[in-house]
Amino acid sequence: MIDFELEPQTQKRIALYHTVAEQMMRPISREYDEREHEKPWDFLNAMWAASTAPGGDPMGGGDAQGGARLRNVYTVATTEELCWGDAGLFLSIPNAGLGGAAVMAAGTPQQKQRFLAPFREGKPKWGAMAITEPGCGSDSAAVTTTATRDGDHWVINGNKIFCTSGWMAAEKSEGFVVVWATVDKSAGRAGIKPFVVEHGTPGMSVVRLEKKLGIRVSDTAAIVFDNCRVPADHLLGTAEVRREGGFKDVMATFDATRPIVAAMAIGVGRAALDFVRDFLAEQQVEIRYGLSPRRLSAVERDFMEMEVQLKAARLLTWRAAWMLDRGLRNSLEASMAKAKAGLAVTLITQKAVELLGPLGYSRRYLVEKWMRDAKINDIFEGTQQINMIIVGRRILEYSSKELN
């Protein structure tokens, strides 16, 4: 039966996270946006403590999700709430992150245990994933970072950029970075493998932290691998160069992570929408639903447009997450959600700044920050354009050769 109501457990957690967002994130939002590469340790430690406590949450670690049955729906709903607080702070929360997602997608059971168990205890730690290089982003199959077998080790050489939490994972905690490198350039996609490089491994060094338009508190690292040696068993899954699987397995993680990124965008968009709604109410500007659109003021029309675009993005995102929870292939729906949310929230947050005139432009309010924070969601985890190509391929039943 069609049902748009979230599980009670999920709703409870949303309420909890709303409190976290409002009381722990918003008050430090502006400060850490200005200070960029400093870390809000009080907040990070508190989130880590909550996640590693019994019944903790995979948002930070642990496995409970409050007992929700629809786990991916739970994740997108709670992600939205935390990003309503602050998207950069959300990305900064210590957890296995995309590195963990890669381990889950490609690792053996032993590797999952070995690399992920530490995230349930001890000091805060981060996992990260390094794919993008100076010369390739969307074209992730064109990575030039190499992994060469040498006895019981792999030797990794290459340059990675745009690695979220890469600094924290590689150097500032007992975490790890999953690096995509090719073991056989001639094999193309099939030769690309994920390698776990643990913190402090010689040959891995963070050379730069990017200065960004938004999500500034989240560190975005450029990492150089210079004869970086990792044990052979740090290759996730199998070394065999197969035509099927391998790269494809890890790409499949995007079916799970795209809805999450869409949810991030929606959280930021909702922050802007809520602010504008409250602001207009204070100014005694009424939003009159039901009226013929011709009779609405321009502000009412703009606001309603923002609102319905956000709802549309959210419903697509929930659907993509729900399908995953029901064991249904959701590549099309995940890309639809990401494409829609990325674009819609970019426009929503830009419109919010516009509607508020000089006040929207001022750094006295968070609205201008939300516009800056929103933009990245249309870019990382698959750009708008890449997601549109994926949607195009699915609806046209074309291969990547036929539509590219």
Partner: protein, 365 residues
Amino acid sequence: MLSFELSEEQQMIRDTVGAFAREQIRPAARPADEAGEIPPALVEQAWQLGLVQGPIPEALGGNGDTRLALTGAIVAEELAWGDLAIAAHVLAPRLLAFPVLALGTDEQRERHLRRFAGREFVPATAALMEPRWDFDPMAMSTVARRDGAGFVLDGSKCLVPLAAESETLLVWAAAENHDRVEGFLLPRTSTGLSVGERERNMGLKGLATYEVALDGCRVGAEARLGGGGADFARALDQSRIALAAMGVGVAHAAFDYARDYAKERKAFGVPIATKQAVAFMLADMAIEIDAARLLVWEAAWRLDRGEDARKESYLARNYVAAIALKVTDNAVQVLGGHGYIREHPVEMWLRNARGLSTFEGLATV
């Protein structure tokens, strides 16, 4: 718990109505648009689907089904995928039957619902829209003034489907102090009510629509729907959900057609669907249709739970109107010059979709 899965019954209804739309309605669409009429045999076939009789109580000759907005939305989308004009025609009797069912007095239900229990289509309709550029159902010009125990109606209505063919019309009018909208059940032959010439519209050309003029039209108290206090806002929500669902159907039809065309049509040696400009248009169309459908379903779901769905049905209708226009326009674009010719259906779908931001009360769930 969150779920996007239809019930088995709804899936069956979707499949049945969808097959009917594909096999019977769609082939009749272009001829109906050109000729300005719909084959009576087709209307009778549609009648057998029970789309009007469904929720009428068994005691009054119906099936006694539970009336669900979500099921109505599914039906409306499938029919409209076949053809919007034909869909509006076959669903028109609901415009009178469903408000009477939901809001009428016992006497009104007894008097007006039995006629739909027969084996043949019975035309009936409601008059809502008015011929003003700034028409707003919340600020109607058609007024019902108290006159002793009864009322006098004055005003003009337009885009009334099947007015000339219907024995009885439900006329929506503002109470004289404009604080609410009331419904009045009138025989077409009432003194002071006149049905104009058949209208000529941009789209929906197969659907017979009319202006209806009310000039000092006197009605008794018994004509007022529900004896007063009928929940027009909810009826408007139900209508907006229906129209939005139909908009999704039209958009979906246009997308299906454009996608299939783009895969076949070659330019520069390859199917045009392999070109990003075209593929992106189609991808955008697909995303908007799916988003629109979910918005419609959410509004319908709220209505079925007895919750206030005014905002949701309004926003859903606005969203659908915008994307249906964009999608049908893009479908014409994908077909290029061929999209402009009245042979492929896309130009017809664009003409039909263009009205969605204007239409009120043309259908209900």
